[in-house]
């Protein structure tokens, strides 16, 4: 896999982290397994301001994991590490979470699982027309504004 900003090691770590952030759900695989790390790598290439918080967070995760690599920790321990990193630098961590959500929820297959068949245009949505009879109580309230 060719990355633009992340090293292969960072990409692998990000992928594992993303599997904890957005885990599997029913038939849906977790975010990392779906390839969200590669999408985040593309975001980092396009938007340099995102690099510092994401890379800082990945480094902090490695450090917090201690001697054993993050990959070798069990699920409970991974989440514990992530919570600690989040508490230490919530701002950077939340950027990594945000970019993971960005990568995950822009996928048509994930959108389909939420009942979204198309982007908003060109079809839009058909909604019921406004029914003026609903206003009868309010109309009867009389004048509610002040004269000058």
């Amino acid at each position: 896999m060719t990355t633009r900003i992340l090293t292969p090691e960072e990409l692998a770590l990000l992928s594992l982290v993303q599997d904890e952030l957005v885990p599997s759900y029913g038939d849906l695989p977790p975010a990392g397994t779906l390839g969200a790390a590669l999408t985040v790598d593309a975001y980092l290439a396009e938007q340099p301001r995102l690099r510092r918080p994401v890379l800082t967070t990945l480094r902090a995760i490695e450090v917090r994991a201690g001697k054993a690599p993050f990959a070798e920790l069990d699920a409970g321990r991974r989440v514990e590490v992530l919570r600690k990193v989040e508490n230490a630098d919530p701002e950077s961590f939340s950027e990594l979470v945000k970019q993971t959500y960005n990568a995950y929820y822009t996928r048509p297959d994930i959108q389909a699982s939420l009942g979204i068949d198309n982007p908003p245009q060109p079809l839009g949505f058909e909604l019921p027309a406004f029914d003026e009879s609903r206003l009868s109580r309010v109309r009867a309230m009389g004048k509610l504004w002040r004269d000058d």
Binding site: E20, L21, V22, P23, Y25, Q47, V79, L82, S94, V97, K98, T100, Y101, N102, Y104, Y105, T106, R107, P108, I110, Q111, L114, G115, I116, P119, P120, Q121, P122, L123, G124, F125, E126, L127, P128, A129, F130, D131, E132, R134, L135, R137, V138, R139, M141, G142, K143, L144, W145, R146, D147, D148
Partner: protein, 538 residues
């Protein structure tokens, strides 16, 4: 007409809501009008609505904060002194290029707050003076809505009917009817049926805040600009104005600007009209220093840039058990509740607020906190939490009247500049005590509404950081030159051929979105200027 050696009779700076309306109005009478606009035309192909990743546009190419969006036309703003960030769009059509199109009018009492409530200042004219221009503006832009709201004076029939009434409206209605509060389908600057040329009616696609690709939204680039251009207005894009020039007598002579290639040019005119918005206009006037105006043009009073008003906004969201599909239908305009609009001192504050009962956003924006301000948690609870909110949430904006205070202001940053080296604005703002008391009270009312509507969870963002949509008051109107920059016709007290017509003109803020009033004021000023051009032109 001005002397033929002048480049134009009237030079307008800024092509947004007010600049577009004034360009159309002034050119009707045959004046030679030029508009300098730092931005460009947004190409319809740039809108993201047809892509699955459309929600990303809120964070990138169509972000509302220019510091995040970073278009070439955007200038940096130093926000370190304000909890509310100014938001704007720098393009042909200005901040109406991607907005929500909520289009309420101010009420008669809003123009008379000193007389009625003993605070701030009265406007130099009344609602009734402005009413014909509200009507004219509505007929130009196309509004959807319904006349007959008992909370407002009677008004002319709306151009197109109110928008759809769906499950989210039913949810709100449960609460409103339980509480017996006022509500009305609000006026929106968007068309629900065919109106105007090259525009399609709204198809309820949802994310108006990242622009409208079909021209349903009544943005200035699809309403006024085609007509103004047909009347011969010259619109120069990619033209960043650096300063307004003056002669030895202190009369405005035109502007210096940087063109598309970065070349510094001058444009001369008999009258200069500022329409660069509530941050851009004071910035330019403050940057236009001369021997006659050492503190900035028309600023010997020190009032330029002062009295900045936002509408401090809280978002209160109700999560419902049933599907309300808040992501469908125009994001902003649904219903207004003006139960608490007029002053009732028993509430602990003066003036009032409205509850804007709005919709919601798609799954990505819900996950990221979107307009809720509360991101969905990551980890094992993520999917259930997301599914409980997405398509189940409606969001109400609490919009309250912000009183004008001289300490809240736009100044020039001593260090920060834009790409052309022009000093950037610095914004200093804090919500006053009255505002804070009103915020607390209004959030409690919004909670009460959602409780009465049967929401299972209520989320509150008590002061939304990215909510400086409404930039008002920084070159305020008034009769007193010590407390105002311009008179009721937009004419500067200190420089008779300089006019200001944008959001900075507001004497007070009212508790409704400002743009229908901004455009009505611009039309009224332009009308007067058109009739009196010979007398005021340099």
């Amino acid at each position: 007409m001005a002397a033929p050696e002048l480049d134009s009779d009237v030079l307008i700076v800024g092509s947004g809501a007010s600049g577009a309306a004034a360009a159309w109005s002034l050119s009707r009478g045959g004046l030679r009008v030029t508009c300098l606009e730092q931005g460009r035309w947004v190409d319809p192909s740039e809108y993201a609505h047809s892509r699955p990743d459309y929600e990303l546009a809120r964070q990138t190419s169509f972000a509302k904060d220019p510091n995040v969006r970073g278009w070439a036309a955007d200038y940096p703003i130093n926000n370190s002194g304000t909890p509310i960030y100014p938001l704007m769009v720098n393009a042909v059509g200005g901040s109406t290029v991607h907005w929500s199109g909520h289009f309420p009018r101010m009420r008669p009492s809003d123009f008379r707050v000193r007389t009625l409530d003993g605070v701030a200042d009265d406007w130099p004219f009344t609602y009734w003076d402005l009413e014909p221009y509200y009507d004219l503006n509505d007929s130009m832009v196309g509004v959807s809505g319904l006349a007959g709201d008992p909370a407002n004076p009677p008004r002319s029939p709306r151009q197109t009917p109110p928008l759809a009434f769906d499950a989210g409206c039913e949810a709100y209605l449960r609460g409103l009817e339980n509480l017996g509060w006022h509500w009305w389908p609000c006026d929106n600057a968007l068309i629900s049926e065919p109106f105007g040329e090259n525009r399609s009616p709204c198809n309820c696609c949802g994310p108006c805040d990242i622009g409208c690709p079909i021209g349903a939204m009544s943005s200035a680039h699809v309403t006024y600009w085609p007509k103004a251009l047909a009347q011969g207005v010259q619109l120069i894009t990619h033209a960043r104005v650096e300063q307004i020039t003056v002669d030895h007598a202190g009369q405005a002579t035109g502007a210096l600007y940087y063109d598309d290639h970065g070349v510094r040019r001058s444009h001369t005119a008999g009258v200069v009209v500022m329409a660069a918005n509530g941050v851009g206009t004071p910035r330019l006037l403050l940057n236009s220093t001369s021997a006659r105006f050492p503190n900035g043009l028309a600023n010997n009073s020190g009032v330029v840039g002062a009295y900045l008003m936002f509408h401090p906004v809280a978002f209160v969201s109700g999560v419902f058990e049933e599907v309300v599909n808040g992501q469908r239908g125009p994001i902003g305009g649904l219903m207004n509740c003006q139960e608490f609009y007029e002053t009732d001192l028993a509430r602990g504050f003066v003036r009032g607020f409205e509850l804007q009962l709005s919709r919601s956003v798609g799954p990505l924006s819900v996950a990221n906190g979107g307009i809720l301000g509360h991101p969905v948690p990551w980890g094992s609870e993520h999917h259930e939490a997301l599914r409980s909110r997405y398509a189940h949430t409606m969001t109400t904006s609490v919009m309250l009247e912000d009183l004008p205070e001289p300490e809240n202001r736009v100044t020039l940053d001593p260090e920060l500049t834009d790409a052309h080296g022009i000093p950037a604005p610095r914004v200093e703002y804090r919500a006053g005590e009255n505002t804070q008391r009103m915020l607390e009270f209004s959030i409690a009312r919004a909670r009460e509404l959602f409780e009465a509507a049967g929401a299972v969870e209520i989320l509150v963002d008590p002061l939304v950081q990215e909510s400086g949509w409404h930039l008002m008051g920084t070159c305020r109107m008034g009769d007193d030159p010590e407390r105002s920059v311009i008179n009721g016709w937009g004419q500067a007290h200190e420089c008779s051929n300089l006019f200001v017509i944008d959001g900075s003109t507001f004497t007070t803020s009212a508790a409704v979105n400002p743009t229908s009033t901004i455009q009505a004021v611009a039309l009224r000023c332009a009308d007067w200027l058109g009739r009196n051009y010979r007398d005021v032109a340099a």
